[in-house]
């Protein structure tokens, strides 16, 4: 039998890592690739720096990381990281990342996206990747505006936001990404803000460790087209960074939904976290059941059995 993709002999990432004596953990210099093309002051710089820190802290190797994105300012991300990267279509990072996750259990799969990419053009995939609980981490850098195309209304723009497509102020009700994620069955839903680096790092780490689809909604200010959008969530700008109370039961879906629904600036931290079998595991189980009848046989012998019935 050839090497099965869903049962890779390469050690799965949630198995204990072997001791790798000769290799030291990567330094920030080794992880960084192109200098980011973002505008000075963009919130995305902070998230990139914390992704580097995550790789450094958790001693991840270049070759074990896949950094995947769609289209938008946020989605330039893979070019700035020394890892196996893919810059895919607008809105389609999640199904692409699902293809990686389902065929290679030995890899870390990180997808980076923006509010337009994840919730507008890619909205359908957000729903279905979450409900299937495909193992990966999705970080959405939400600036509540289309930045790359220079200031159009986004699906998270608040009512009244003046953009080039709503010069009189946005009229469409914005979506609440965390509520949506909980409602469609995501098993890890957290909210953070680029203005609070320690919180971002802790959230990304918890997301990475979650065995399932983990969604991190990260506020990330666009200083060019929506300056001051998140001041109310930034204590340095006179706002309040309200962390979810320690007493919150992260497995309580209704409580999570309520916390996620609070008016802006809302709450930060892990709203919801439950353990459900991932699609990855379910597919492996399907394979094991199917293969149990063919133990020790080569692929051509299995196919021969099928052809013998087609005579």
């Amino acid at each position: 039998m050839s090497q099965a993709l869903t049962e890779n002999p390469v050690v799965p990432i949630n198995a204990p890592q072997p001791v790798t004596g000769e290799r030291k953990g990567l330094t920030k210099k080794e992880i960084a690739a192109d200098h980011p093309t973002w505008c000075p002051g963009c919130g995305d710089f902070s998230i990139l720096a914390l992704y580097f820190k995550l790789i450094e802290k958790r001693k991840l190797w270049h070759e074990k990381i896949t950094t995947i994105s769609g289209i938008g300012c946020s989605s330039r991300f893979p070019y700035f990281v020394q890892s196996h990267g893919a810059h895919f279509l607008h809105g389609r990072a999640l199904p692409f990342a699902s293809g990686v996750s389902l065929s290679r259990p030995d890899l870390h799969v990180f997808a980076f996206s923006g509010d337009g990419d994840a919730f507008s053009i890619g909205g359908n995939h957000f729903t279905h990747t979450a409900r299937k609980n495909i193992k990966m981490t999705l970080v959405v850098m939400d600036n509540q505006v289309y930045g790359l195309t220079k200031k159009q209304t986004s699906p998270t723009s608040p009512l009244g936001f003046k953009s080039k497509t709503d010069t009189w102020g946005a009229v469409d009700y914005p979506i609440n990404p965390s509520k949506q994620a909980i409602a469609v069955g995501a098993t890890f839903v957290a909210r953070t803000s680029a203005s609070n680096p320690n919180h971002v790092l802790a959230t990304m780490e918890a997301a990475m460790d979650h065995d399932g689809f983990s969604f991190v909604h990260c506020l990330s200010e666009c200083v060019e087209f929506y300056e001051g959008a998140f001041d109310a969530a930034n204590p340095r700008k006179g706002g309040a960074f309200n962390e979810i109370p320690k007493t919150h039961d992260v497995t309580d879906e209704l409580a999570a939904y309520k916390l996620a629904g609070a008016d802006f600036p809302g709450n930060f931290g892990i709203f919801y976290k439950v353990n459900k079998p991932t699609k990855n595991v379910k597919e492996v189980e399907i394979n094991k059941a199917a293969q149990s009848k063919f133990a020790g046989q080569k692929d051509w012998q299995i196919l021969q059995k099928t052809f013998d019935r087609m005579k």
Binding site: T6, G99, N124
Partner: protein, 602 residues
């Protein structure tokens, strides 16, 4: 069946026993009568009897019911098409009888269910009528009202009697079909079969015996085109796929979903067409050629991602089981109108490989070729079949699976350095290292849809855009140069050359045979590689006065079908003309012959 060899001595009361080398049987009823099952049994029996066989079916696009036919042509010699006209028409209803009597040869036998069909006196001279109360005899045989269930198997018994088919083999086939089901179901089926077979041959006017097959000793497998593709992909080493249901592609995804787990692979049903090609590309990026596929509108939805695969140079197989278009079009009809979208679909300059298998056996081997071409040239491969070949059953020599099955497990050995888009690569041919591979110089690649430098990082450089466009073009030109000049069917020089592609190979070859038998100078050329085209076609064209490109698509604004327009653009050859139709049905040989005559008069 026209080639009756001799009249054998009368047996068992039948008026006449004729030895035949082939027969065309058309079964007409409604889609829920199980007529496909009869056809399937006959096709499998032919396969096991080392005969050639080809089937043709139509299905309504309604959810349940509606007229439907299944035609099967069985031959002891070569069978190229499912046959223009039937020798025997089995008609279950008045509409089946009236709607299909025209497809019967003059003096052919119409076997009708006299419970439902009232024959028309004006047709009784032209066709030999045999009325049998199939519905009530089935009920008599297996009891119950059963809403006409079982009359298909009863009819199979009738046909078995009429053509002196091998009863033991048919019983075995029926047994295999109902394996795992309740024993009473199998017993009922066998009871219905024997009741049909027990019909006195004297009722049947004439019975037939097939001549010995000319290809004794060759074990065969029997399957339709969709099955051949699915198993070809598995043999080729594909272990991941993703798709969304749409007719007539769906069978392939159902087979792969069921079969791939046996091989440690997975086929994922996605939320939409775009997600499926994206997921397949993710899996290809992750290390092994993946497959997606669709039909009609689904292909349109995938075109953006195909452009990405061209730009990112990602291997991928896209199966396109063509149906009538545009838009929702004619979902269960045959058409060859996706050559343009397969070859040119999408924005920008996006060269990709387009393959079109010519028959069911070719579906199997060409699927393996698609895997290897996609891998070698790191390019998306469009695999064009159509509704006709998808559902057509053929028997072909059983492949030597130990030899053809291949393992394409990714190699994750560390490399010193890697440029995914190395411009110095010979003929522009490069492959990606797979994620999980350590790159010792610490520079990791990006697969991207942006124009890029050799590492996959974005560039706005006009020079690099031109170089990368040339790289993506040159590798396909290099592939084109490896293709053998296709063989001409018939003499290499003459008056008329018919050019076809995809599923029309059989009717074209038969058109050549019949033309030549009538003294006309006609040959044919069949293209399986659509993009790039093989070299050397101009030399072939130069040997003929007329080149007629026969396609099941519209003649277009300027009078040429889709392949015809490509060939004219490529060769600037004024003698290339089109023979086109879009009636949603496969070419009948006589239609091709009539079209040749009309074209030659023009």
């Amino acid at each position: 069946m026209s080639d009756t060899v001799s009249d054998a001595p009368t047996a068992g009361g039948a008026k006449k026993v004729s030895r035949i080398s082939e027969a065309v049987i058309r079964i007409a009823g409604n889609s829920q009568d199980g007529i496909q099952a009869i056809g399937g049994f006959l096709a499998r029996l032919a396969g096991r009897s080392e005969q050639e066989v080809m089937t043709f079916m139509t299905i309504p696009s309604t959810i349940s019911g509606g007229p439907s036919i299944f035609q099967v042509r069985i031959g002891s010699g070569e069978v190229l098409t499912s046959g223009d006209d039937a020798d025997v028409l089995l008609a279950f209803y008045q509409h089946s009888y009236e709607g299909h009597i025209n497809s019967l040869k003059k003096r052919g036998v119409v076997l009708y269910d006299s419970d439902h069909v009232t024959p028309k006196p004006e047709w009784e001279n032209d066709y030999r009528h045999v009325g049998i109360p199939i519905s009530s005899l089935t009920v008599e045989a297996i009891g119950g009202t059963a809403k006409d269930k079982g009359k298909n198997i009863y009819s199979l018994g009738l046909i078995a009697r009429m053509f002196d088919l091998n009863v033991t083999k048919l019983e075995k086939l029926i047994g295999e079909r109902f394996t795992g089901k309740d024993a009473s179901i199998l017993n009922n089926a066998l009871a219905a079969f024997h009741a049909g077979y027990a019909n006195s041959p004297s009722n049947l006017l004439e019975t037939f015996q097939f001549a010995e097959s000319q290809k004794k000793g060759v074990p065969q497998v029997v399957m339709n085109g969709n099955e051949a593709i699915a198993f070809g992909l598995i043999a080729g080493g594909v272990r991941f796929g993703a798709g969304y249901p749409i007719t007539p592609w769906t069978d392939i995804m159902e087979i792969l979903r069921r079969e791939l787990p046996k091989y440690g692979g997975s086929f994922i049903q996605c939320e939409d067409e775009i997600a499926s090609i994206s997921m397949a590309l993710g899996a290809s990026f992750a290390g092994r050629v993946a497959v997606t596929g669709s039909s009609g509108p689904g292909i349109s939805l995938k075109t953006e991602a195909i452009g990405w695969a061209v730009m990112a140079e990602m291997p991928l197989i896209v199966i396109n089981v063509q149906r009538g278009g545009p838009s929702t079009g004619m979902p269960t009809n045959i058409e060859q109108s996706d050559l343009n979208i397969a070859t040119f679909g999408g924005h920008g300059d996006a060269p990709r490989v387009v393959l079109a298998p010519a028959n069911v056996e070719d579906c199997f081997y060409m699927a393996i070729e698609a895997v290897n071409v996609a891998r070698k040239y790191s390019v998306p491969v469009m695999f064009l079949t159509d509704q006709g070949i998808a559902t057509r059953i053929e028997a072909f020599a059983a492949p030597d699976l130990e030899k053809v099955c291949q393992d394409i497990t990714p190699d994750l050995t560390p490399v010193p350095a890697h440029k995914p888009y190395d411009l110095s690569a010979s003929d522009g041919v490069t492959q990606h290292v797979k994620p999980g591979t350590r790159i010792l110089d610490g520079k990791y690649p990006i697969a991207t849809g942006l124009e890029h430098d050799e590492y996959g990082h974005p560039t706005g450089s006009p020079k690099l855009h031109m170089q990368m466009n040339a790289k993506r073009r040159k590798k396909l030109q290099a592939f084109g140069a490896t293709l053998p000049v296709p063989k001409i069917y018939g003499p290499p020089e003459g008056n008329v050359l018919l050019v076809g592609w995809g599923s029309t190979e059989g009717p074209l070859c038969e058109a050549v045979d019949r033309s030549r038998a009538a003294g006309d100078s006609v040959s044919s050329l069949h293209l399986r590689h659509i993009n790039p085209l093989p070299n050397g076609l101009e030399n072939i064209f130069s040997g003929f006065n007329h080149v007629f490109v026969v396609e099941m698509n519209d003649e277009g604004l300027y009078g040429y079908g889709q392949l015809g327009a490509v060939l004219r653009a490529r060769y600037c050859e004024a003698k290339i003309q089109g023979i086109n139709k879009t009636d949603g049905l496969t070419w009948k040989v006589k239609e091709i012959l009539e079209n040749i005559k009309t074209k030659l008069r023009q």
